[in-house]
Amino acid sequence: MAVIFYISSAVAILSTVMVITRMNAVHALLYLIVSLLSVAVIFFTLGAPFIAALEVIIYAGAIMVLFVFVMMMLNMGTKAAEQERKWINPRMYVGPAILAAILGVELVYMLASGSNRAAGFEMIGPKAVGISLYSSYIIGLELAGMLLLAGLVGAFHLGRQDKD
């Protein structure tokens, strides 16, 4: 497990460097998704499987989809077609694909070896997290819900098209 932690740390740092040096926003987004996936693998090796799942579902799923939507809305211009042709160029996704393949090999190795215990630390499962979240931290949970509602209302208000 320790070697998997170090390999995915290297993948995370490498892909984050690629994020902040890309010129094209979609390329940067692909590398950021790989970075988030490798951080999810780090969480799994540290004994936090629930947080690893949340990282994949919410960060690499929902938040990145929001970014993709906004980028597609911003790029609706006259040169959208040729830009699309440029994006299909295989040269742009070979880097993220290699890094993601490293993570995939790690995943297959972990599943095949059958040793899904945390590297040196205790595994803290979803049950303990849920019990603590809904007993000691119930106020924080409700505040997070209110924050999300405020974000929803604010985004709706800002994104509304004025008719005049």
Partner: protein
Amino acid sequence: MTAIPMEHGLLVAAVLFMLGLIGLLVRRNIIFMLLSIEIMLNAAGLAFVVAGARWAQVEGQIMFMFILAMAAAEVAVGLALVLLMYRKFKTLDSDQVSRMRG
């Protein structure tokens, strides 16, 4: 099966945070600035989870979930502001909208 020292996890979190900070300071495209903020929030959450794993407490993971909710709300409002800025100024350069009017 050797244990990972906590310092190594914190080091990874620090490096990711510094990369996000460098990206935020260097880039002028507002989409990249939002992406850098996401990297920094993720690195802070990683530090929380590493510390929580070190002492086998659930608090680290709970703090990560709060950070996750905060990041989701922040990115929704931030991207709505980006759309508004692009509609009004036809640019994504944060330097060109730096002057306040009012």
